[in-house]
């Protein structure tokens, strides 16, 4: 038996923080490739501390629904899961390259395949692009559009910015969008000045956050000038300083994120069959069918 456990931050204050985690778990569950699919949270229940004991399987794939490597993925989660042999050198990561490490959880004696966070996986670039497609409702969005990949950024953790820049660079190399920029809330270059960084009239803003909350629903809309007061709402697209800004909140709410979770587990050795393809097909933007998968019937 193999189990998938998706671990995420959750919130004591925001009821929507856990919603994307539940939804991606449901998407993976429907593929039927894991005997069990569970979720666990730092701030909600079951806690990281207790989730493994609720799992029957002896092989457990743990995928952190976090954006970057750092404090949570390297210290908090391994500690709380009781992965006593954990050493962050096990990932041999440069800050964005962690894949997985196989360890034993001390309290339950199960084999835990501890994966790198979803946010640094290469497939995350596709989710960001998909987010742009979803926001604009255009599966071919790109020509004439700029793309702003937005991260929190923090002086305390250099990996936080690395993940954002990594994907911005990868997407830029595809030459699909006219311009791609990595922008931040708490360090330069700042999202407040978003229109200064783009020549394109249309700019899609994709925040690299797991769930919608304070930052994506309050700070960023006000910072970029979509609204003076988040409580009064905003329109997408909205015209700001001569640019049309397209904004629809956290990338983590994009259905394709379930695919990244699966890819992480598969690389750690999970048998996921053709679930990756199934999820990609099921989560596509309406109108994005290709001849290869049109009429798949689900």
């Amino acid at each position: 038996m193999q189990a998938l456990v998706i671990v995420a931050h959750g919130s004591h204050l925001n009821p929507d923080a856990s919603t994307p985690t539940y939804e991606h778990a449901d998407t993976v569950r429907k593929t039927g490739v894991f005997d069990e699919v569970r979720t666990a949270f730092w701030k909600e229940e079951p806690s990281f501390r207790e989730v493994l004991r609720t799992v029957e399987s002896d092989e457990v794939y743990v995928v952190p629904l976090f954006i970057s490597e750092g404090y949570f993925t390297e210290q908090v989660i391994p500690r709380e899961l009781r992965l006593e042999e954990w050493d962050e050198a096990a990932w041999e990561s440069d800050g964005t390259s962690a894949t997985h490490a196989t360890l034993e959880a001390a309290d339950v004696g199960k084999t835990v395949h501890y994966c790198g966070p979803v946010g640094t996986h290469d497939a995350m670039s596709d989710v960001i692009v998909r987010r742009a497609e979803t926001v604009t409702d255009d599966p071919d969005v790109g020509e004439g559009f700029g793309l702003a990949v937005v991260g929190h950024g923090t002086e305390r953790n250099e990996n936080s910015a690395k993940a954002i820049e990594y994907h911005a660079d990868r997407i830029a190399e595809r030459n699909r969008f006219e311009e791609v920029r990595a922008l931040f809330m708490d360090e330069a270059p700042e999202i407040d000045d978003v229109t200064d960084f783009f020549d394109s009239e249309d700019v899609v803003i994709v925040p690299l956050f797991v769930a919608d909350g304070y930052h994506t629903q309050e700070d960023i809309p006000e910072d970029v000038g979509l609204t003076d007061d988040y409580r009064t709402g905003w329109e997408t697209p909205a015209t700001v300083e001569g640019h049309r800004l397209w904004y629809a909140g956290a990338v983590g709410t994009e259905a394709l994120m379930a695919d990244v979770v699966l890819e992480r587990a598969a690389e750690a050795g999970a048998d996921v069959g053709d679930a990756v393809e199934t999820v990609r097909r099921r989560t596509r933007v309406a109108g994005a069918e290709t001849s290869a998968d049109a009429g798949a019937g689900d």
Partner: protein
């Protein structure tokens, strides 16, 4: 009982069967079939089938508890629900036919008899115990409970799943054992597992000190709260957060391995094995606040006003402020009385009796 169960019994007889008073074995003289009501020996297979056929409850009960593949924790919980370890099979089947109720936190779980001795389970809020199921929102998929547990009856987010504020008005019906345990695990995560570990004598409790010592980042500060002045502050935390009125888990953690807390751990069926994330977050705030030194302030209050301040603190701490009627000015925490007190005793900066918080 059905043919599959009977065939399984005959097949298992060679190895020996023992469950809730039923014993079946193969001896040199033939099969032996025993229940508390009778002992039949020297049976050939046809005889065994005949006598088993006359005791269908014992056979289906054995089949349900031993031939259905389920983890030990699930078996233990489901058997506990129907009182399997303390009630003989015939009495239990008669009770199950009527429906056997068990309580788990605010849940009422009813066990009934399905076809051929299989059990069916229903779960709802205990407050809805006597309501006809037609009056309730009926669900079948345990995962749908995720939305039911998110908000209380007043629509407020419930960050603590074991808070005694579970919303009512719903029911999961016709569940099998697996689905029932999943539903309970969504409502009260990990409680069944920890309850089972406790029964097996294997519950791993992390006491206050060790739990706080492992905190890092913004929570690392909690460790500094111990400044050699005893552990009264942990008593206050437990009294504030970990009593039955606030959480249905039974607190099993203490100050440390050798130092119990005086505050009662509560009467919950399922144990709490370490301070939860809400307690940790609150303790971080208190650690900072408790770093302040006391100051002496001088206020002018009438005796009734002093009592009113005490009433207000009680009402907020107990969550009863909302229950005080609009016009009930006899209650100290009544809104109009409180507004009068503020109008009279606060200055323009919101200082009680005009006394500034920080000395000038």
């Amino acid at each position: 009982m059905n043919d599959e169960q009977l065939d399984a019994l005959v097949a298992a007889a060679a190895e020996g069967v023992e469950c809730d008073g039923l014993r079946v074995s193969r001896e040199p003289a033939g099969f032996r079939f025993e229940t508390p009501d009778g002992d039949h020996g020297g049976l050939d297979e046809a005889d065994l089938r005949a006598v088993a056929d006359e005791n269908p409850w014992f056979v289906s009960n054995w089949y349900y508890w031993t031939e259905v593949d389920r983890p030990a924790v699930e078996t233990a919980f489901l058997r506990w629900l129907e009182g399997a370890d303390g009630t003989a099979v015939p009495e239990r089947y008669e009770a199950l036919a009527e429906g056997v109720d068990a309580a788990w936190g605010e849940l009422e779980i009813e066990v009934g008899l399905g076809d051929d001795g299989h059990r069916t389970y229903e779960v709802r809020h205990a407050e809805d115990a006597d309501r006809p199921v037609e009056d309730l929102e009926v669900y079948a998929d345990p995962l749908e409970a995720r939305e039911l547990v998110k908000y209380d009856d007043r629509g407020r987010y419930r960050p603590l799943k074991t808070a005694p504020t579970l919303a009512s008005g719903w029911a999961f019906v016709d569940l099998d054992g697996r689905s029932l345990v999943r539903a309970v695990d969504v409502v009260y995560p990990a409680t069944v597992t920890n309850w089972h570990l406790e029964r097996e004598g294997e519950l791993d409790v992390s006491h206050w000190r060790e739990t706080m010592e492992r905190q890092t980042g913004i929570y690392g500060v909690i460790e500094t709260w111990d400044r050699g002045e005893g552990h009264e502050h942990v008593e206050w935390v437990a009294e504030a957060c970990c009593v039955d009125s606030q959480c249905l888990k039974r607190r099993e953690w203490e100050y440390d391995d050798g130092t119990d807390l005086a505050v009662d751990g509560g009467d919950g069926e399922f144990p709490c094995r370490e301070p939860c994330s809400l307690v940790v977050a609150a303790a971080r705030k208190w650690t900072k606040l408790e770093g302040e030194e006391s100051q002496t302030y001088e206020f002018e209050l009438t005796p009734s006003e002093k009592e009113q301040v005490e009433d207000i603190i009680d009402a907020v701490a107990d969550g009863t402020a909302e229950e005080i009627r609009e016009a009930d000015v006899y209650e100290g925490a009544n809104r109009y009385r409180t507004r009068f007190l503020r109008a009279k005793r606060f200055d323009d900066e919101g200082n009680l009796c005009g006394v500034p918080t920080d000395e000038e």
